[in-house]
């Protein structure tokens, strides 16, 4: 796998001094699906805009397919498809014309067979001669995707593709993303739905206040998310953990009034049954048991809070 999008020390300061991106660096591998998670105003859209040419970086470099997005914008932008967050469409236009327009605009010659297959994939084919204004919100969003795909991009940016979209369309969208991935298209999507990142992404990036806090393999994050803690309150305090329990991942807390057991719910065995037996064998009485799960959301919230002074 090779790097297809390279963001190097990019800073974006808007007129008026707002720093939307702070020395941001990011590498996106060809063929992967990267989800950028972050609260509103975190800089997700600004990051996408600077890569796609809607906004000029104040400093730093961005390359797409090895082409600088400023000095070699033609080669870079040919590779990119962008689905914006807002439904920006001309209401009086016909679906087929607006999709044809997009293909031409990106320098490609007319190819109606390809456009037909794109529209069919998006269940838009029977709407091809409808005016945009006659379409439902979900259909309009599909038109935006069709426009972005019309010039066969290698990298597709989806800015909040499922914001305000019903469950069915969201599932459709995920299925579409999966098909595109099979065709080798690299996909970067922004979202603030954690389940969405979980459902479709290979890697997850967390961004807040113009900084990328982490970019990690989804599996690693999920295994972190799968970690659970069990707090065992004891009837009597203990000075130290008995040797017979040394094989368990136990921590003594509250001056020995309780023990915390860390385990993985996604592991083959949680070890809970044997731990309880062994606790009894060691002569410890149990007052109460609580379990506590650290979710991706917790990780997200913790990270975002840590970054906030």
């Amino acid at each position: 796998m090779s790097t297809i999008v390279e963001v190097e020390n990019v800073t974006k300061v808007y007129l008026g001094g707002f720093e939307a991106l702070k020395d941001t660096s990011l590498k996106i591998e060809e063929g992967e699906i990267l989800a950028l998670l972050g609260p509103n105003g975190a800089g997700k859209t600004t990051l996408i805009s600077t890569i796609c040419g809607l906004s000029v970086p104040t400093s730093g470099q961005i390359r797409v397919g090895g082409h600088d997005v400023v000095t070699d914008f033609r080669a870079a932008r040919k590779l990119i498809g962008l689905v914006p967050q807002e439904i920006n469409l001309e209401p009086f236009e016909f679906v087929i014309n607006t999709v044809r327009f997009s293909r031409g605009l990106f320098g490609k010659s007319r190819n109606d067979a390809l456009l037909e297959s794109i529209l069919r994939d998006l269940s838009l084919w029977d709407k091809k001669d409808s005016r945009i204004s006659a379409l439902s919100g979900g259909m309009k969003r599909r038109v935006l995707i069709a426009k972005a795909l019309a010039h066969e991009p290698r990298v597709l940016f989806l800015d909040e593709p499922t914001a305000g979209v019903d469950v069915e369309l969201r599932k459709d969208m995920w299925a579409l993303v999966d098909r595109l991935r099979q065709d080798g298209v690299t996909i970067i999507l922004t979202t603030h739905y954690i389940e969405e990142a979980e459902a479709i992404a290979d890697r997850v990036g967390i961004i807040n206040k113009g900084e990328i806090l982490l970019v990690e393999d989804k599996k690693d994050l999920i295994s972190r998310m799968g970690r659970k803690e069990m707090r065992i309150e004891l009837t009597e305090t203990i000075a130290q953990i008995p040797d017979s329990l040394a094989s368990y991942d136990l921590t003594r807390v509250d001056d020995g009034a309780a023990l915390v057991y860390a385990y993985n719910t996604r592991g083959e065995r949680t070890g809970i049954t044997s731990l309880l037996k062994d606790l009894q064998a060691a002569g410890l009485g149990l007052k109460d048991i609580q379990t506590n799960q650290s979710s991706l959301e917790d990780i997200f919230v913790t990270l975002v809070q840590e970054a906030t002074p």
């Binding site: 808007y14 007129l15 805009s49 796609c52 040419g53 809607l54 906004s55 000029v56 914008f73 033609r74 080669a75 870079a76 932008r77 040919k78 990119i80 962008l82 914006p84 807002e86 920006n88 469409l89 001309e90 209401p91 009086f92 014309n97 044809r100 327009f101 997009s102 293909r103 031409g104 605009l105 990106f106 320098g107 490609k108 010659s109 426009k147």
Partner: protein, 258 residues
Amino acid sequence: MNVTDMNWNGIRAIYRFEMARFFRSIIQSIVSPVLSTSLYFVVFGAAIGSRIDEVEGVSYGAFIVPGLIMLSVLTQSLQNASFGIYFPKFIGTIYEILSAPISSLEIVIGYVGAAATKAMLIGSIILGTSFFFVDISIQHPFWMLAFLMLTCVSFSLMGFIIGIWAKSFEQLNLVPLLVVTPLVFLGGSFYSITMLPPIWQTISLFNPVLYLVSGFRWSFFGTSDVPVVASLIAITAFTALGLAIVWWIFRTGYRLKA
């Protein structure tokens, strides 16, 4: 940059898209200029013109034809071009243009080319209409077309600039209304400036539209208020100024990019 490397498909896409907008409202596009021109002929040509014998050896009805065409062509160029680029800004579809592998020059060719074509079409329709009302012959057809085309292009460029500058529909209509309409009416569209008092003749010489109307009228009748060369220089300078401003707009991203 090589001509073959240019994004011709992109230019064509913009041009077609804009022309489709024109043909979608074809009735409105044609009926409105034909109707207003006919009214001008009735009011100025027949009612008032019957009391004016001739201007510079041409019947008054024929004399106003070049001015009438210019009036419509200027207004149409400005309106079409300013709306063409303002509308995508207004509804947000500009994102696609800005993210496409298309240079500023190509964008301008697409939008300004379409707006100028529409204005040319309307100019021709008005010329055609005028044949029903008055006898006219065109002495320099080549120069007539050249003046018409240069005017369409330069005012479409100006319209493009207004469309980028405008932040609201009100501003979009402001410049044509407050600046261009007075300039056209005071630019000798319906009279020869020799009919004005000397002080107004001098003031008129600062009106760029005078040079366009004068040159255009010369191509019809062989007479003009200012030398034809001055008209050519004026329109070339005007086009160059428009190009320079457009170049600056795209260089700085003025009102287009954050």
